[in-house]
């Protein structure tokens, strides 16, 4: 009961309303809670909340509960839910938006590898214009779980032997063209 009351005080309907102004989320409020998204999601059984529950939380304005959920990070962006949703809600885009807000508000689970990967990846692309598979995985492991490097070594060896592991740092020539991005974009998302 206590939790129920706290929940209602925490609800931020204005946030939910603002949410619907962004690409893919326009139809958020028309969710009928049918659960098709959770049923079709290949990862829902590994999630703390199902996609349907996350959508319900967002729709009712429970911002922090949605942002702290591991679900948004487990979403692999396979778009099954978006394609199957009978109400045509862009659920994948909603997950993306929640990821961005969680990173910006520092609400993601610390040392959880997925947001760490996202940040390392972006940093590398910002600096070099390209991503070098080996280095981005290496940096992610260092910053989330260095022990994982031992178990990755075996896969690395297979890749090395078949000529599929490149240690080269990839970069583009005209990086200046990408460097205007932060000045141009208003970063509204």
């Amino acid at each position: 009961m206590e939790r129920q009351i706290r929940y209602q005080r925490e609800a931020d309907l204005e946030w939910a309303r603002q949410f619907t102004k962004h690409p893919g989320s326009e139809r958020l409020l028309s969710c009928i809670q049918c659960g098709t998204c959770s049923g079709t999601c290949p990862l829902s059984i590994y999630m703390d909340l199902t996609p349907r529950q996350v959508i319900a939380l967002v729709r009712e304005g429970f911002r922090e509960d949605a942002l702290r959920s591991k679900t948004i990070w487990l979403c692999a962006s396979c778009y099954s839910c978006s394609v199957e949703c009978p109400q045509k809600i862009g659920i994948t885009d909603i997950m993306y938006r929640l990821k961005r807000e969680a990173i910006r508000s520092n609400l993601y689970p610390k040392r959880f590898p997925i947001p760490v990967l996202a940040r390392e990846f972006c940093e590398m692309v910002r600096r070099h214009g390209r991503n070098s598979e080996f280095w981005v995985v290496f940096r992610m492991a260092l910053r989330s779980n260095p022990f994982a490097l031992f178990s990755m070594a075996r896969t690395g060896w297979h890749l090395w032997r078949t000529g599929r592991l490149s240690l080269r740092k990839e970069r583009i020539r005209r990086i200046n063209e990408l460097q205007v991005i932060p000045t141009v974009s208003k970063e509204v998302d």
Binding site: C78, S82, G129, S132, L178
Partner: protein, 302 residues
């Protein structure tokens, strides 16, 4: 650089790294089909799923630069073989088409970066290109050798057919089966063909990623497939690289070749073992060698 090139090839990071066999087999196949292709000069990262998780606008601008480079090169068709690259480039187009604010951002970005405004660049996937521009009939005619009686599961993965449907039907794609049949391979009825492989999850939440791949492999095996055929470097990597681990975990004797569609088609068209990157497989090496290194006189010519 061929001035007469019809397609601009956008490799993305994987086709230069773990997915290098995809690049090798795609370029070989296109050469055998006498299709002129040239690499997009100074291309940048598509952003994959990570960039979109940090900033939507930046992600769209990042992808857009590649389209503007194609525009600059005076070409219409950008061939993006990686499912994630394909989707990301397509998505940036959709964002521009449907959201005026995003279109403004893109316009300002291109202006400041000194790049041409976008006009009519098309993003293409090799599966769609083989099916639409070359055609099943022509592939059948050009086939010089067949993998007679080999049963394969065509696996599309997610982002090539979802959410956009130019490559194939998002619910029941069949084009890969048609192409395989045309070059003499028997496709099985693989109901998991659009189920996600987990993408980068094998590198982050490893147990979950491996589990998804186990399900995909196990189902292919159960349906009687001898190999899986993919059109995405990440799907190929995930399904190929962790089979030893899956064997150890589950005790199941899974050792299945995971091939690129372009390796199978390229071989049927007469391509060589190494130029199709067939030596780069991690799993199912024995079968791959058995199928693709038959002696000349033993080859079944059509």
């Amino acid at each position: 650089m061929q001035p007469s090139a019809k397609y601009l090839y956008y490799p993305g990071c994987s086709l230069k790294g773990t997915g290098i066999a995809y690049e090798e087999s795609l370029l070989t196949t296109l050469r055998l089909l006498e299709v002129a292709v040239t690499e997009l000069p100074d291309w940048n990262c598509c952003g994959a799923t990570s960039y979109m998780s940090v900033s939507e606008t930046s992600a769209a601008l990042l992808a857009t630069r590649n389209l503007a480079l194609a525009q600059q090169a005076g070409m219409k068709d950008v061939l993006a073989p990686c499912n994630a690259c394909y989707l990301t480039l397509r998505k940036s187009q959709e964002l521009v088409a449907h959201y005026p604010e995003m279109a403004q951002e893109v316009e300002r970005f291109l202006e400041q970066a000194g790049l041409p405004q976008l006009d009519s660049v098309r993003v293409r996937h090799p599966l769609e290109m083989l099916y639409t521009d070359i055609g099943v009939q022509r592939l059948r005619e050009l086939t010089v050798r067949r993998l007679q009686g080999v049963r394969m599961a065509s696996y599309y993965g997610c982002q090539a057919v979802r959410p956009y449907s130019e490559v194939d039907d998002p619910h029941e794609p069949t084009r890969m089966d048609e192409i395989l049949r045309a070059v003499g391979v028997e496709p099985i009825d693989y109901t998991l063909k659009t189920k996600c492989c987990g993408g980068s999850l094998t590198g982050t939440i490893h147990e979950v990623g491996v589990r998804l791949n186990y399900i995909l492999l196990k189902e292919a095996l159960r349906k009687g497939a001898q190999a899986i055929v993919t059109i995405c470097p990440l799907c190929q990597f995930n399904l190929d690289a962790y089979q030893a681990e899956i064997r150890k975990q589950t005790g199941e004797p899974i050792d299945m070749p995971v091939l690129y569609l372009t390796q199978v088609v390229g071989w049927a068209l007469g391509g060589g073992f190494r130029e199709l990157g067939l030596h780069r497989a991690i799993s199912g090496k024995k079968l791959i060698e058995q199928w693709f290194t038959v002696k000349k006189e033993a080859e079944t010519y059509v």
